[in-house]
Amino acid sequence: MPVRLAFDEMKGADGTVRPAYSELADWLKDIRPDTLDHRRQEAELLFRRIGITFAVYGEADAQERLIPFDVIPRILSAGEWDTLRRGLEQRVRALNMFLRDIYTRREVLRAGIVPDDLVFQNPVFRPEMNGQKVPHDIYVHIAGIDIVRVDADTFYVLEDNARTPSGVSYMLENREIMLRLFPELFARHRIAPVENYPDELLATLTSLAPDSAPGDPTVVLLTPGVYNSAYYEHSFLADKLGVELVEGRDLFVKGGVVYMRTTQGPKRVDVIYRRVDDDFLDPLAFRPDSGLGVAGLMSAYQAGNVTLANAVGTGIADDKAIYSYMPEILKFYLGEEPILKNVPTWRCREPDALAYVLDHLEELVVKEVHGSGGYGMLIGPTADKAQIASFRTKLKLDPKGFIAQPTLALSTCPTCVDAGVAPRHVDLRPFVLTGRDRIRIVPGGLTRVALKAGSLVVNSSQGGGTKDTWVLDR
């Protein structure tokens, strides 16, 4: 890989172990390779058993659905986490203020911070939300902010996921499995727990109930159903939250209020943690062919009788085209410098930037503005001539459709591979919960790891795995 030598989170370039990793490094030195391998197999067995428990096992594609798990944890010091936490809170506050502004006064557009067409011509902008009041003015209640690290002090926000971010069930299960496999390692560290996430999520969701809701609001989790790839996470979370896992057909709207069909008759629903995309929420408002939604849901929402988490139309805040403007957006609303930086980004819509990008395709990462999941992107340094040529044509045809970023040397962490323990690139997705009362962040998040040597793509759809993420308490 023609990228700079990556920052390793355990060891400095001179081989000295960073303080947060000192216990782990000692432990790794002492442990016999076959013990590690044995634990690795045990972990896989446990996951498979959870797979059995959660309904994917037995399917023809069961093997693919098991995301590889690496038994070596990724560690963040208390200081590092503190910076991250403050940065995440700041970022999510700005996202919420931006959304409120975009759908009401649009000061950010009038001030010329963000070009109009990026908003109004964007397919994820929802005109239905214009002037619409949402309960407590919060739009993004559950955010998954993707973070990458490039050196000791620099964390970049790679992507803001403000729609229906997934992966939190892996964060919780990875920890459960590690606690079972390595009790001794836990005793040697002081690790902040994550098991309270479902409680924090429930507290957040409950706090969001509309004012017309009764004192003890009813929360449900809306899933597209068993055929959705994240169904396992939906049923896992509903179970941990102790709320009903509903499908569209379990709900109906009458007199501007949402009800679920229960064995004791209709029961009012006040907060819907929905894992169904905007497009499919309500066949009367969005896609008329959607069988996953609830007819009339938007009318109940507009009447202020139900909270949708996240709100409708949040996609405009995590769009890749908007992303590059986030530092300015944040400064505009909060008057503060961003604690977490953006990855430097060339907006190909700007002629100077486009010219630079076309000249440097071999060293840049080019992303489609509306792509996701690691698809539709060019990684210059590893691409062949034909791929580069094809992106050159695409860029010239539709410069607005692309952004470009430098190829980042993502930090690495020690990881179990066939040849033993070796550094692999990682990212981090912490989950940020915004309730009426406050913002809650469980220390850590989901660490994704690119298991192939040299690979920078951590997406599970493309050979990525996960690790438990430890935040040291001191």
């Binding site: 428990t53 309904a55 037995g58 159903g225 068993v226 057909r249 379990d250 064995t263």
Partner: protein, 313 residues
């Protein structure tokens, strides 16, 4: 609790119970058809098995003749028959999957393992021996699921709806056997059969696993009117109509107590149970066994519909 969840639990239990019943019918039929004609007479037991399974219409639309091959295929493995053993387990498992968190781990393991093992029999048994093993396996799978529900579920509405599914299906199954075989079970003075019927009576008892129970209850040789008495009125027999309704009333009452409200389902169940409690075999024979059973099947369907409307829709 979501109506859909209750509906899934109810049908999950019904389908598992139905699979076991079909296996018993096939087992009993296989046994009776293996006997020399001199012992059982010239009857088409395979057609009778289809009738007892309640799917004569669909069967004869697909097959001209009811024989071992066509009936076994239709009742056990046909994908076209929505109530074949194969489809029962298929539907049961997909119901279970949709409400995974409402089940205990043990219940899920039981139904999921059954579903996985079913693939082992996917290519149809090659011999009668193998088929017999398959039928045993079906019954054991059902017992395992039932047992895990009994031993691991919380005693709340989820459990009660699941039990209601079991008993309503069981009552229907027992009634269907009686409906098809009633002519063999007439009272002493009307009875014109000879020793030929003895094996038929034994077959009936076997299909509700009550042959041994009969001897314990009556302590005498098989008498057709006593077979009817056992299957209809004897509370002690878990598959008798009376016992099924005892349990239906009990579980529906628990739901009513928990929800603080009675409804048409409770009234219907109680009315049927009262009728069974107040009946004596002489009266039933007097009114006509066939008419009595026909009336019961209709009543049982009405209860199913009342439960659906009251709770599951």
């Amino acid at each position: 609790m979501l109506s859909r969840t209750a509906d899934n639990l109810y049908w999950l239990a019904r389908y598992v119970e139905r699979a076991e019943y079909l296996a018993r019918i096939l087992e009993a039929t296989q046994r009776i058809t293996a006997m020399p004609l001199a012992y059982v007479g010239e009857t088409n037991e395979w057609a009778s098995a289809v009738a007892t399974a309640g799917c004569s219409g669909a069967f004869f639309a697909a097959h001209e003749e009811a024989n071992e091959e066509t009936v076994t295929e239709f009742l056990a493995f046909s994908t076209a028959n929505p109530s074949s053993i194969l489809n029962c387990f298929e539907v049961a498992r997909s119901n279970a999957r949709a409400i995974r968190t409402a089940l205990t781990v043990e219940m899920w393991d039981a139904i999921n393992t059954t579903w996985l093992e079913l693939k082992r029999f996917g290519n149809r048994p090659q011999s009668r021996d193998e088929f017999a093993r398959f039928l045993r396996w079906v019954q054991e799978s059902s017992l395992r699921f039932d047992g895990s529900a009994y031993r691991t579920m919380l005693r709340n509405d989820a459990y009660w709806f699941s039990r209601i599914g079991v008993y309503i299906e069981r009552a229907d199954n027992t009634a269907r056997i009686l409906d098809v075989k009633y002519h063999l079970l007439l009272p002493e003075d009307e009875h014109i059969g000879g020793p030929l019927d003895y094996y038929q009576w034994a077959g009936i008892l076997r299909s509700v696993s009550a042959l041994t129970a009969y001897h314990w209850v009556y302590r005498e040789s098989l008498k057709p009117w006593l077979v009817a008495d056992l299957l209809i009125l004897k509370d002690q027999l878990p598959r008798s109509l009376s016992s099924c309704y005892e349990n239906l009333v009990q579980n529906l009452d628990r739901i009513a107590n928990a929800y603080g409200r009675q409804g048409p389902a409770q009234r219907q169940a109680r009315a049927v149970r009262t009728k069974l409690q107040n009946s004596r075999m002489e009266e039933i024979f007097g009114e006509g066994l066939h008419e009595f059973i026909g009336g019961f099947i209709a009543d049982n369907n009405r209860l199913g519909e009342a439960i659906r409307q009251q709770y599951l829709a």
